[in-house]
Every structure is written in structure tokens, then in C-alpha cells.
């Protein structure tokens, strides 16, 4: 047990010899030394979470502090672990579909899209074009919803309360479209393997176009509140900087990577669904700080609207469900398929043993990987910046722990 703890926390103390490594476990066990009083204590270990409102769920961050300065962090995850990957091994391919919605529950549509496409790849079938267009529209709407929720909560963490109300009000319009389309607002289960279960409802196109028109000025309103706000700029510019090289080394994807100046978007790099038919830009930042990540996500919201507007006018006619066998028995083999979820690269690795149930499903969630860069980003910063950086990575603990 002690060895295990040591190896997990060893990265915090690269400079100290191993015998002197003090982890939180050791510190708790050992009585406080006489000379280390409150005032001149130069190291303090602080537990942030799992019940801390700014950790966006049940993340526990152990902070090693020198006063207000962060010397190192350690993330303890697993408080929301539900064993989704294991559940998959006891469910058929169709039955597992609703569970993926519950990983990243603010972007359930993207999760479902990734899973359905991965199984389709395994089955060697393709969704009909109409279904693919519907998928793109809903996935992009979901990206907007996810970014709105991120913006609201992130701003709330930093101290701007107003954007939360505005983003939630506008997100509600997206959720209404989801509810009308598939009957659920959050955990949508909108897609099935081989296409979509639901035909678009009457007035779907008008609703989406109306929403796009409605939300454009609203995004500008968020910018009025934040982009040039002096408090916001002070709290975010130069905070949580990660260089492009470091971001790539950590495997960071999504807006966090793009804010560091790396032009990498799976929608362009490996187009899936119908993304190759649409024109859009990949917004990138320069400094890789919290402010840039904010700018990148705002720009992404505009790009999503662009994609939606192109897609909604061009939904082809035709079936929404491809030819799918009633009992799904994919050939023996394995597949990795990844999509650009709102938070980064969301990948599914599925191993089939030829039966109706997957042999193994491994999910590569963006939040989990991006969270690993937290230590790099907050070292040397202040405690208040940790809150800002956790917010800016945009983690969803349901996805981190699965």
C-alpha cells in the first residue's frame, strides 16, 4: 500500500531523493514536527475536493502548497466510477448504446455518435447520408451546448456569475430541440447503430435555423461580458500556460490543444460522419493560456453554427437507417474509432470475439487525458488559479471515471 502511494506521488518530488519524499499519506501518518508551525510552515498539503464546487463533480486534487503557491498537485479520481467499460462486456452492442450517454453527460450526442460509428466500422456498414447529416447537426448543437455549459460554470468559478444564467438560458433552446427530436434532453440516446432511430420532426429545420439566428447575438453578449472585462482578463491571461510541445506530449486534445497553437481537429484530420462536406475553420490560440482557451471555444461555437447552417439546408432525402442485421454479430477483430467530441478526441476501442457482446470496450475519454496536464499547468501558480485551470480544461467527471 505504502509503495503504491509512493509511486503514484513520486512525480511531485523530482528533485528530492526518494527517502525524503513526503506524500499526503505519510504526512497524515506522521505527527507534525515541532518546528513546523502554522506561520513559517513552508509546505502545506491541502485537499481540494471531492466536495469542492469548483472541481465540477467529484474530483479530489491534493495540493502541495507553499503559502498560496502551488508546488505540485495530484488528482485522485474514481469517485464516480461506474464500470461502464465492464458493463459493455455484459451487454449486446445495441444495449450498450444508452450507457455511453452517461459518460460525458453534457455531450451525450457526441458520445453516442462515436460509439455508433465505431460499431458500424466493426460491422463494416455505413449510415445512410440522411442519417449522417442529422448526426452532424445534433453533434454540433451538442458541442454548442457543452461549450455553453463550460462557459457558464467556468465563469462562475472565476467569479462572473451572470454568464451562467445567459448560457443556461440559451442551452435550454438546444435541449428543447433534442427533446423534440428524440424525447430526451440530456442523455439523448439519439442515434442507433446503422443510422438514427428517429426521423426529424416536422419543423426541425426551421427550429434549428431559428436557433442559429437566435444564438449568434447571444454569443456576442457573452463576449461583451467577458472578453474585455478587466477582471476576467486578469484572472485568465497567462494562467495555466501549456506549450504546444507539452500539450502534445501529454496527449491533450480538443480546445486545450488548439489554444496552444496546434491546428489539430479530427473533423478535418480524419473526417467522419458528413464533416468532409462542410466548410469550417479550426480556431487556434497562440499562448496556450486560459484566456486563449476561452477565445478558442467561443470561436468554435461560431464555427459550429456555420456547420449547422450548412448542414440543415442540405439534408438529403432517403432512409435514416442502414441495413443492420437484427442480431449484431460483428466479425472477430478490433477497431479504434475516434471523433472530435466537444472536449477533445473521444475514442472507442472495441474488441469483438464474434459473439453478440463485445469482448472489450475501451473508451479514450478526452477529459481523462486532458486532466493529466493539470499538474503541468498549475505548478507555480496560486490556489485561485487551480480553480480557473480545472474549469478551463473542461472536465466532466462522469467521463474521467467512467
Amino acid at each position: 500500500m505504502a509503495d503504491d502511494t509512493k509511486s503514484r506521488t513520486a512525480h511531485l518530488d523530482l528533485d528530492t531523493p526518494e527517502s525524503q519524499i513526503e506524500t499526503y499519506m505519510h504526512r497524515r501518518a506522521a505527527p507534525a514536527r515541532e518546528e513546523e508551525t502554522y506561520l513559517d510552515a513552508n509546505e502545506l498539503v491541502l485537499n481540494m475536493g471531492p466536495q469542492h464546487p469548483s472541481t465540477h463533480g467529484v474530483l479530489r486534487v491534493i495540493l502541495k502548497l507553499d503559502g498560496e503557491k502551488v508546488l505540485g498537485t495530484e488528482c485522485i479520481i474514481g469517485y464516480l466510477h461506474r464500470g461502464v467499460e465492464k458493463i459493455a462486456e455484459n451487454r449486446t452492442y445495441t444495449m450498450f448504446n444508452p450507457y455511453v450517454d452517461r459518460m460525458d453527460y453534457v455531450a451525450a450526442v457526441s458520445n453516442g455518435l462515436g460509439y455508433c460509428e465505431a460499431v458500424e466500422k466493426l460491422l463494416n456498414i455505413e449510415a445512410p447520408p440522411r442519417a449522417q447529416y442529422i448526426r452532424v447537426i445534433l453533434a454540433e448543437l451538442n458541442r454548442l451546448a457543452s461549450h455553453m455549459l463550460w462557459l457558464g460554470t467556468h465563469a462562475l468559478d472565476i467569479g462572473a456569475i451572470t454568464p451562467l444564467f445567459y448560457t443556461f438560458r440559451d442551452r435550454e433552446e438546444i435541449l428543447k430541440i433534442f427533446e423534440k427530436y428524440c424525447g430526451a434532453r440530456l442523455t439523448t440516446h439519439a442515434f442507433r447503430i446503422g443510422g438514427c432511430q428517429y426521423e426529424t420532426y416536422e419543423g426541425f429545420e426551421q427550429d434549428v435555423i431559428k436557433f442559429c439566428k437566435f444564438v449568434r447575438p447571444k454569443i456576442d453578449e457573452y463576449e461583451t461580458l467577458l472578453t474585455t472585462n478587466r477582471i476576467w482578463v486578469e484572472r485568465t491571461r497567462g494562467v495555466g500556460v501549456i506549450s504546444a510541445a507539452d500539450a502534445i506530449d501529454f496527449g491533450v486534445t480538443g480546445p486545450v490543444l488548439r489554444a496552444s497553437g496546434v491546428k489539430w481537429d479530427l473533423r478535418k484530420a480524419q473526417p467522419y460522419a458528413a464533416y468532409k462536406n462542410f466548410e469550417f475553420d479550426i480556431p487556434i490560440g497562440q499562448n496556450g493560456d486560459t484566456y486563449d482557451r476561452y477565445i478558442v471555444r467561443i470561436a468554435e461555437m461560431h464555427q459550429s453554427l456555420r456547420i449547422i447552417e450548412q448542414a440543415v439546408g442540405a439534408i438529403p432525402e432517403g432512409p435514416i437507417m442502414g441495413k443492420v442485421p437484427k442480431v449484431m454479430k460483428p466479425p472477430v477483430g478490433e477497431i479504434y474509432h475516434s471523433i472530435e467530441a466537444p472536449k477533445g478526441e473521444l475514442g472507442y476501442f472495441i474488441v469483438s470475439d464474434g459473439s453478440t457482446q463485445p469482448y472489450r470496450v475501451r473508451v479514450r475519454p478526452p477529459s481523462f487525458v486532458n486532466l493529466q496536464a493539470l499538474d503541468k499547468m498549475v505548478r507555480g501558480a496560486l490556489v485561485a488559479d487551480v480553480v480557473a485551470v480545472i474549469g478551463t480544461i473542461d472536465i466532466v467527471l462522469g467521463e474521467v471515471d467512467r
Binding site: C182, T187, T224
Partner: protein, 153 residues
């Protein structure tokens, strides 16, 4: 810093613009809050809420043919269907149908599987119960639909 930026900073223009936006939304027309118990939300037609077993409106007979497909489709295995064979007509007839709502995630796979459109997820969304047993619905509850308690002054 350009002169324009400096003036914005000195005159607190960014702050004032933000405040102007906030105050614009003080207009009562901009209220989005729904006064829930008084004001009923209108859920969409496809909303997946409380399950219901359909009955034939004229004869009051259940539409369920006890094929067990919903129970097989359910990822949580929460539907239990029992049936017995009628010796006269030699057809399977439904005896009991239990639906454990406390484990249901409203994915809609059961209603997709139903060949007779008997089982459906309806627009009822008030499913709270004081006990766990209250969440396990039997055939009569499923056919009648939820009966939420109405509180009156």
C-alpha cells in the same frame, strides 16, 4: 496600448457595457423562469417518460401479446413478463408485467422492440414516490398511468 484602449480603460467602458447588458435583461419580458407547479411544462410529443401498457379502448383488453421482446431488449433487465397459454385459443396471454422504474434510464429500447406498440414511454414525467417499492410498477399501474398526488390548500 493604443489611445483607444487607454480611453476604454480609463472610462471603464468594458464594465459599463457589461452592466448595460445585465440591466437590459431586467425587463420583465426577458423572464425565462417557469413557475413549475403552477405553470405546467409542455413536454415534447416524443418525450420519453413514464411507461404505459396500452389497452384496446373498446374492449379494455391489453394489447400486449406477451412476446417478451421488451424484456430482452432492456439493457437493465428490469422488465419481467409472465404469461400463460390459453388452452382454448392456444395463444399466450399476459398475466403479470412488472416494470422497475427505479432502474429505468428511459432509453426507449423497449418501446422500439414492442411489435404491437403496446408498451410506450409517455409524456408523464412526475414519477416521484415515497418508497422504493412504489417505483416498481405492476400491470395495473402501467395500464392506468401514474397518479401523482394532488396537493390542495
Amino acid at each position: 496600448m493604443t489611445f483607444k484602449e487607454l480611453t476604454r480603460k480609463v472610462l471603464l467602458l468594458d464594465l459599463l457595457q457589461g452592466l448595460a447588458l445585465t440591466f437590459r435583461y431586467q425587463n420583465p419580458k426577458e423572464i425565462y423562469t417557469e413557475q413549475y407547479p403552477l405553470q405546467r411544462p409542455r413536454v415534447a410529443e416524443r418525450y420519453r417518460g413514464a411507461p404505459r401498457l396500452g389497452v384496446n379502448a373498446e374492449t379494455n383488453e391489453t394489447l400486449c401479446i406477451a412476446c417478451d421482446l421488451c424484456a430482452l431488449a432492456c439493457p437493465e433487465h428490469l422488465i419481467v413478463v409472465t404469461s400463460e397459454r390459453n388452452p382454448n385459443t392456444r395463444r399466450k396471454e399476459l398475466t403479470t408485467f412488472t416494470y422497475d422504474l427505479s432502474r429505468c434510464m428511459f432509453c426507449g429500447l423497449c418501446e422500439d422492440a414492442c411489435p404491437t406498440d403496446c408498451l410506450e414511454l409517455t409524456q408523464d414525467f412526475e414519477l416521484a414516490s415515497y418508497s422504493r417499492e412504489g417505483m416498481i410498477w405492476d400491470r395495473t399501474t402501467l395500464e392506468r398511468g401514474p397518479q401523482p398526488t394532488k396537493y390542495e390548500r
